[in-house]
């Protein structure tokens, strides 16, 4: 059992994020959260999508699965159901999770499988050179929307709430300590948890930059927001303008998906014997 420390959670891989990228803040927050939580490194699995965000796989030294674009949630679900002893954390991109992978999102939320989804919401397709993302702000100009992004953007928090997610939060990379605390709360929450992270893409997103958020971000907890008030959460999620809330929007204790599975109530699948007891009994019906 090796507890995470500030140094052993790092890898020796060359970091290829752009200088100034908000992903550095995410990485720092996550490292600190793991150190604080004292979960042995081998008990943590990091699942990532494809995009700049996914490279965090190379920089965080816990177990890792760098899957395919958009599929963080199903991979996490499989891992968690196979071995509930593991802490399963997913890092996805906004293109990754809210475009390609949006189909898994409401289902993971409603099922309340005990996995954590931290989305790098930089409002841009970073790795593929700056195309418009589903969360791009109206008017965002890119190679794919030279006249500016037209439609209202996709609002992850609202969809999470509509899908009855049991933990819904927003963080921002400019406040690493706050983000760290959110991550800790999400990991400690029993059930599905979303943190949509306002992550600055330093290279492509010239509007939602550090200053933009610094000027607007405020903390829900400072305003006495009641995290058990579902409708208040929805209204807060609708705020996006002069003021942008961060923090926990909504939190609810309710049964997790696993509680419907007597098979793994006591022992994780991965620790069960492969031998089937009373195989011949299974054949009775066929006789």
């Amino acid at each position: 059992m090796e507890l995470p420390t500030r140094s052993n959670v790092k890898t020796n891989e060359t970091n290829t994020w752009c200088p100034g990228c908000g992903n550095f803040g995410v990485l720092r927050a996550l490292q600190s959260a793991l150190v604080d939580l004292k979960i042995p490194r081998e008990q943590v699995v990091l699942v990532t999508g494809i995009g700049c965000h996914g490279k965090i796989f190379n920089y965080l030294n816990v177990n890792g699965f760098h899957g395919i674009h958009g599929r963080v949630l199903p991979v996490m679900t499989g891992i968690k159901l196979a071995n509930q002893d593991l802490t399963v954390i997913g890092h996805a991109g906004d293109g990754d999770q809210y475009d390609e992978g949006i189909g898994h999102f409401p289902h993971a939320a409603r099922r309340n499988v005990d996995v954590k989804l931290f989305t790098h919401d930089n409002k841009v397709y970073g790795l593929t050179t700056g195309q418009t993302a589903p969360t791009s702000i109206k008017g965002y100009v890119s190679k794919t929307t030279p006249l500016g992004a037209f439609p209202p953007r996709l609002e992850p928090l609202k969809i999470a709430l509509a899908s009855n997610a049991s933990f819904v939060a927003r963080g921002w990379v400019g406040d690493v300590d706050h983000l760290k605390e959110l991550m800790k709360a999400a990991i400690q929450h029993r059930g599905f948890a979303l943190i949509d992270m306002l992550q600055v893409c330093f290279t492509f997103n010239r509007v939602q930059n550090y200053q933009f958020y610094r000027d607007r971000v405020y903390k829900l907890e400072a305003e006495g927001h009641d995290t058990s008030d579902y409708y208040a959460a929805i209204q807060r999620a609708d705020e996006w303008g002069e003021k942008i809330p961060i923090g926990i929007f909504y939190k609810e204790d309710r049964p997790i998906y696993r509680s419907s599975l007597p098979q793994i109530e006591k022992t994780p699948l991965v620790k069960q014997s492969l031998k089937v007891e009373k195989f011949s009994e299974l054949l009775q019906e066929l006789m």
Binding site: I68, I79, L86, Q272, S273, V276, L283, M287
Partner: protein, 584 residues
Amino acid sequence: MGLTSDVSVLIGGEAGAGISAAGVSLSKVFMRGGLHVFGTVDYPSLIRGGHNFYMIRASKDPVYTQWDSHDLIVALDENTVHRHIKALKPEGGIIYDGEEIPTDNLDIPKEMKNLFAVPLKSIVKEVQGRPVVRNTVALGAAIGVLGYNIEIFEQILRELFTRKGEKVVAMNVNAARAGYNYATEHYANSLLFQVELVKATHKDRIFLTGNEAVALGAVAAGCKFYSAYPMTPASGVLHFLVALSEQTNMVTFQAESEIAAINMAIGASYAGVRVMTGTSGGGFCLMTEALSLAGMVETPLVIMLGQRTGPSTGLPTYTAQSDLRFAVHAAHGEFPRVVIAPGDVTECFQFTIDAFNLADEFQIPVILLTDKHLLESYTAIPPFTISDITINRGKLLPLAPYSGKQPYQRHKLTPDGISPRLIPGTPNALIHSDSAVHKESGFQGDDCAIASKMADKRYKKLPNLLKRLEKVPRIKLHGPKKADVTIVGWGSTKGVALEVMRLLEKDNVKANFLQVIYLTPFPTEEVKVALKDQNPILVEGNQTAQLGGLIREHTGIEITKKVLRFDGRPFNPLQLTRRIKEEL
């Protein structure tokens, strides 16, 4: 009135009228009576109405598929008569509700004498049964006219309904008995034959579908996680595994899509359990991206691909063998895989177990290529046992603390291309799996040298895989070593091919049957040897003779004679025999 031990019965009626259940019950009567039995159901993609029919073939000799023409038709509606009268043998008979269906309506050729009108509905009323009990009456009558044993049927009904209480049992038994009595009273000796009771054994065989056999194979192999999205004809695996899941400690998961299903399976496999997913063509399409992922991260995975008539939605409840090439080449990039095509329920069970072992031993994806005809047809066989089953998880190490001197490397280069495998949760080890080109450590690497080294690593498995496959039947040559004609086929055509062999022999044509079981890696040498100096004819359930192309690609042998069927229906033995003879 002679004794026969080879009979074909067709039960027809509307969807939702319990045709399949009736077929299975009657089949089990024959099975318990000591006969070999094959049963198959034909149904369109709708829930009520339309026309379903179940064909039972029972015989003292092994039977492998349905027959072209029938000795008895149990017509639960008028439509059944119209549809199938042409397939009734001249000496055969029809059971129908004489009070519901005016005999004049039936428009039956004069020479057909055996019209067994039975007042099904009235009898149901008498025994105070629900409408569906009509089937039971009709089956009782069928057993009557066939001169078979009604007690076996009564026993089956007892087992079937015991959960519902003695009253229901009694009512059903009465219904069956009433139908039986009516038939024996009115139509005894009408048929020119009586079905032979070989021995009144009871529970020594099982009657099951390919789906159930695959599911049981997965259970026997220690599969712990099955995720799937429903899709005919593969749904049967899901349903059966769900039903067994509490007894087998398996997590069965109806995912939101096939994409989710396969990625969940890959996640669970990465976490260390044996996993399977199953689907049909359209769903398999959606799985291909993750198939490539499994190939790249070397995560064991078994996929059951149940073919049905395509392209696209096609005929969702009908059969085909048109996804062979797709299974062999699906997904981008190159990585070793195994594609196995079982030909009957026994092989479904055995090859599923092989599939799990191969997936683990070589850390590759394995595709079980099946089809509707195989997955949803029933065969009576001796019960499976698991005492002699080997489970080989290959280089997977137990969940004990890692004690290597070097940090653990998931993709270590080894002489055989297979790296020792640990799973997350192992103390002192971290497991890194990357869909991008990666180094031995599992972390991303993008220089040429790594890319080609890792590509080589993956293909290094091939020679050992080929060696390992010497232990399993990659092909089977059924019948004489040398013959006048060699039927060449794969998958579910095995059944009809074995029947056709017998039929050709009766016509003094010596035939054998080359069953190609492993489509990938292709058994080049075996096929070459088997086809040497033969007169081969391809029999495939597709339009482009896909196996033919594969054989030519790998062996250079071009098979020019072929019989192809691609209208959704399986081959029938007599018809296929005729077509083969035309080609000769």
